[in-house]
Amino acid sequence: MNTGLGDAADIIGILVSVIFVAAMLIWVERRLLAVWQDRLGPNRVGPFGLMQVVADMIKMFFKEDWIPPFADKPVFILAPTIVFITMLTGFAVVPFAPGVGIIDFNFGLLYFLALSSLSVYSIVLAGYASNNKYSLLGGIRAAAQTVSYEVFMGISVMGVVMLSGTFNLREIVEAQRDGWFIIPQFFGFIIFLIAVVAESRRTPLDLPEAEQELIAGFHTEYSGMKFGMFFVGEYLGITLSSAMIVTLFFGGWLGPWLPPLLWFCLKTAVGIMFFILLRGSLPRPRYDQLMAFGWTVLLPAALLNLLVTGGVVLSLQG
């Protein structure tokens, strides 16, 4: 549809840089957590420990890739690829900068919601296929948690859709020229943020893999590269979520002086660091608290936000 979108250089460049960022996040997260906890973190391999990612990857490649005999083998192998593929395809609609991106899809926002809801299969199927009590509990928690939080995630961004009048992410960014949507949609932003953390199963809402109670939850039986896929898939999820938060509420590529692409990357990096800070600072709620909070607080709040936004938009139009 647009010129400059979706040529081979764009696709390969975005794919490679996204995977690179996701892999580097392993190091970034460990270092940042260490700084916030008054430690040093991995600093031995290469300058500032930057090569730690390579060391981790080599370790993972050479580990034995063990499939337990009691597992449901085809599903067990399929599960880790789903999160990886859905998260990577999610980047297709992210508007990096004018002319940089893979497709200009009219329903970009819905496309993101669709893929983030598909990614839960990865966790659920892993939990089922492992045929292990802890994995099963993790999978069940993941299914309930994501299906619930998806609802508010969808409703909370409808305020943005009302203000901009479109589902197209590029047009949403353009609509924020006069002011970022975080100001008129502050409650929508808060709800979306919580829902995104729950969807990407990050601490504090990482109930499906809560180490202290479920060993490692859904990926207890996974080892080697299959475990690596879950790991990188989670970081891809964080990157995608931060990119979406920036696009929807923080004006995407808009900003003074610097080139648009750089603005987008900077804002996304801040978003990612916020995710890591959340992990370093907040305790995990109990599972029933999480579900009750979602349905009794977030759902009414999201609906109220939708109602008020709709009323204001209507009254402004006269």
């Binding site: 449901d72 009219n106 669709a114 659920v124 099963l136 299914a143 309930a144």
Partner: protein
Amino acid sequence: MTLTLFYIASAVAVFATVMMITRLNAVHGLLYLILSLLAVGVLFFLLGAHFAAVLEVIIYAGAIMVLFVFVIMMLNQGQKTIEQERIWLQPGMWIGPSLLALILFVEMLVIVISGGSAETGHVVNAKQVGIALYGPYLLAVELASMLLLAGLVGAYHLAKPILKTTKTGERS
């Protein structure tokens, strides 16, 4: 190009549906069903109904099917149910459904050969869908929402915690 893609997606949908019916393991069957729904989503997209395509993925593949998988995981019966399915799915029981499906297939062939409904779709945007839903189809929307409300009330009633008397004698 679009036509080729359309037929590939249709073939995937039909194949996945057949596999879904013939699987003995319930979760494997569900996986094929999800695949079939995704293929139908692609079909909608190719016909220009982008909104319906995305909603197909969000609602059917992304939400309803997760609940199906959830329930089957909760009831995790293992090998026992596979044996039971094998007993149920005797070759003889395929005759009836196959005949009925054959009738539909012949009807479809007749329609295709007589050249009906070969028009290509046009792109529908979200606004048109909304205007149609809250204009001419308002009554249907309201009826569907009432049905959903009834389901919600029913689910609440079934899941309501059993009333217990607390120490202070109050009912919680």
